[in-house]
Symmetry: none
């Protein structure tokens, strides 16, 4: 058994001196590891080396003996220290050939941004003979899927995370599924939760956590907990038969704490709930400074529903642009329930929307007091016939950016729960299984 | 030379299946790498493997041949899958011995948190014969500093970041400085650039890129290019003497394209330029949806300068909240120079600020036309005595989020360049060397 699994195992080799200098976190390795787990591919080793051909070669030669697929990140850019493709070709004594197609594509991309094609950019169109090009829709550096021999394939990605992700999703993951998978279908679904900690969630489902097919794996990021359900079977129907009951049971046990699945976000879920009713939304933001609006507008088609908002960072803007009465500010302070309610009401009225949401809190590091410590944030939702507020104490230890991020999540979640409690989305997205 | 540096080089081996499943980011590797760089110790390789004794042994044997010191993280806890110490002892055929002192210490720690001493905890007091104990002041799992032979030392840390850091700072870093360091200081500085691509930047400084002390390393993220200058010398003064002229030369060659260094961001730089003059700023955002405001308010102390803004996502909000004349919208469309200028003027006037900046563009994926394709974004800056605009064509291939991020960067950069052209920041941040 161990031999069998090693035979289709995948290793990751991250190339870049900036990783060895500790300049950046290796988010690519984490992201790829998660994707490999979801494909059910065995993954036993990750390595980081610098932009050094001797060390890259050493690692590639070692990996070619141990694993079926080596995924590399980094070193595909146009500069002198980008040597991944060249070094791979040298490792397996393969000549480099220029791809006319890719050269034209790079030229077109440079032209579209009004920049000249440099000699260095031209380097990016060179590939080992026989390699398949792994297209890069959002950058100039394509990767390769190359099998220098029949039992070993190397797949290269640039180090830029957004480019790597789109290349993985559009091409590489499909290639792996088709060519490396064991003929088994791997079906997975990620459920997303708010207002619950990873450990609490795990305690809600200890029996399901121990099952072997489907398996459950929890993941947590700041403000969001996820649970991945993965089922394996010979056919898609069989995999669905395994996965669906667990999905249903999880939704049942976690109730409203589960806000969606897979690509859904809190922003997409609230926009969808409002879209179905043809209603509109405006935001009034103090400590988040535009973060709630940015989260909403990161969703395509947000304009159906989201019309805009007011970033009321200073008190004078809260008065001028949101009609918050000055005595409320004097009496209760900007970080208070009465003020955040007035902000939500104000933005709804000024913008003429059906709904208005507001956030006002202390993101720190300064400005906290004993009664109102850093991390205290108030939230309000004003609807056609309701006005509700809540307070959260996130704790100063999250830091300014952490508190801002948690506030964005919490604000959108408050709107979601309010809409659901008022009967929005019945038989829709939030309850689908 | 390569042999010399390999002889005192340090590798990192992170042990933990959770890293291979992509459950967590490898923050320990980044942190340790940065510490090694600051000690001037050469560091060429990082590896991640799971809690598997065969693979751990393989890595340790390889490292013992290549490097002077191997740092491991993880696998020191009390559970069954914590096997680091035992596996190391086996690798070098060393017996394990119980440390009475550590056993008492673990007992005392368990008692202080009201937990009984388990058999598994007892395991944590076992060490290879001859190993020095690396104390863990904040947890039960101590590490070791162990030289199984005269040319190789292994230093073990638990995976918990806070415990690792304190153990490093109190003991391990001092041991390394004394026993491994060559007495060299490493000094580095990161310069940050906007409006230039990584490849263009590299072509501006090919001669400097080839130098060996200081070295230059470029890296790029979406919308930002960085260049790290690293100098090595016997003393901090000597390192500065090497670094400073290169820093100066780089600033000279790149001019206004270099917006700052190290922890500075475009947002912090523009806030600082305005703060020095006691002036205020407001934002009017369409396609960025609040992203410019969020970038500004992510900086602590932003409230001195940034008062707020209007997210004018729909045309009606542009009219209602920013006084954009409806005939401008009809005649030129929302994505146009006249409209973005009116937005910047409008927000400045409505909010009563000294400066107003505005963004309006097509983030896509829908809504593009031949004349106004997805990726076209207009920017304006209204100041006390000026009103300027520009257009950028980022290209649809960046995708919605990419276009939004590039727009935030470009908007802040337009403000920075406008302020500098009007004499703001003379002898200050943007020109310091």
């Amino acid at each position: 058994m161990p031999n069998e699994s090693i035979n289709n195992s995948v290793e990751i080799l991250c190339i870049g001196s900036e990783l060895l200098l500790g300049n950046i976190l290796n988010g690519n390795a984490k992201w790829l590891a998660e994707e490999l787990a979801s494909l059910g591919l065995p993954h036993f080793k990750q390595t980081v080396v610098g932009d050094n051909s001797t060390r890259i070669k050493e690692e590639v030669i070692g990996a070619a003996k141990r694993c079926r697929v080596l995924i590399t990140t980094g070193g595909l850019g146009p500069t002198q220290d980008d040597i991944t493709t060249k070094t791979l070709a040298e490792t397996f004594n393969s000549p480099l050939e220029e791809s006319k197609e890719i050269l034209l594509d790079i030229e077109a991309k440079m032209q579209s941004i009004g920049k000249p094609m440099s000699i260095n950019n031209r380097k990016q169109a060179l590939f080992p003979k026989g390699a398949m090009v792994l297209p890069n829709p959002s950058g100039t550096a394509p990767g390769i899927i190359w099998s220098p021999n029949s039992s070993f394939t190397v797949i290269t990605f640039p180090g830029v995370p957004s480019e790597l992700k789109i290349m993985w999703q559009k091409t590489a993951s499909l290639w792996l599924k088709k060519n490396i998978g064991q003929g088994e279908i791997i079906l997975s679904k990620v459920l997303k939760f708010s207002g619950i900690r990873e450990s609490e969630l795990a305690e809600t489902v200890p029996d399901l956590m121990e099952a072997s097919n489907p398996t459950l794996a929890p993941y947590a990021e700041l403000g969001e907990v996820k649970l991945r359900i993965t089922a394996k079977a010979r056919t898609i129907e069989k995999a669905e038969q395994l996965l669906n009951p667990v999905n249903k049971e999880l939704r049942h046990r976690t109730g409203l704490k589960c806000f969606g699945s897979d690509d859904e976000t809190l922003a997409s879920v609230v926009l969808e709930l409002l879209r179905k009713k043809g209603q509109t939304l405006g935001v009034a933001e103090s400590c988040t400074g535009g973060g709630v609006g940015a989260a909403l507008t990161s969703m395509k088609g947000a304009s159906d529903t989201f019309v805009g908002g007011v970033i009321a960072y200073s008190n004078s803007i809260k008065q001028k642009m949101l009609d918050v009465p000055s005595d409320l500010l004097t009496q209760h302070g900007a970080v208070s329930e009465p003020v955040v309610k007035a902000m939500a009401k104000g933005v709804k009225k000024r913008l003429g929307t059906d709904w208005g949401i507001a956030v006002s809190g202390l993101a720190g590091p300064g400005g906290g007091t004993h009664l109102k410590p850093v991390g205290l944030v108030y939230f309000a939702v004003a609807g056609p016939e309701s006005l509700e507020s809540k307070a959260e104490q996130f704790g100063a230890h999250y830091g300014r950016l952490g508190i801002q991020k948690l506030s964005v999540v919490s604000s959108l979640d408050q709107l979601r729960l309010t809409l659901l409690s008022q009967g929005y989305g019945h038989d829709s997205i939030a309850f689908k299984t």
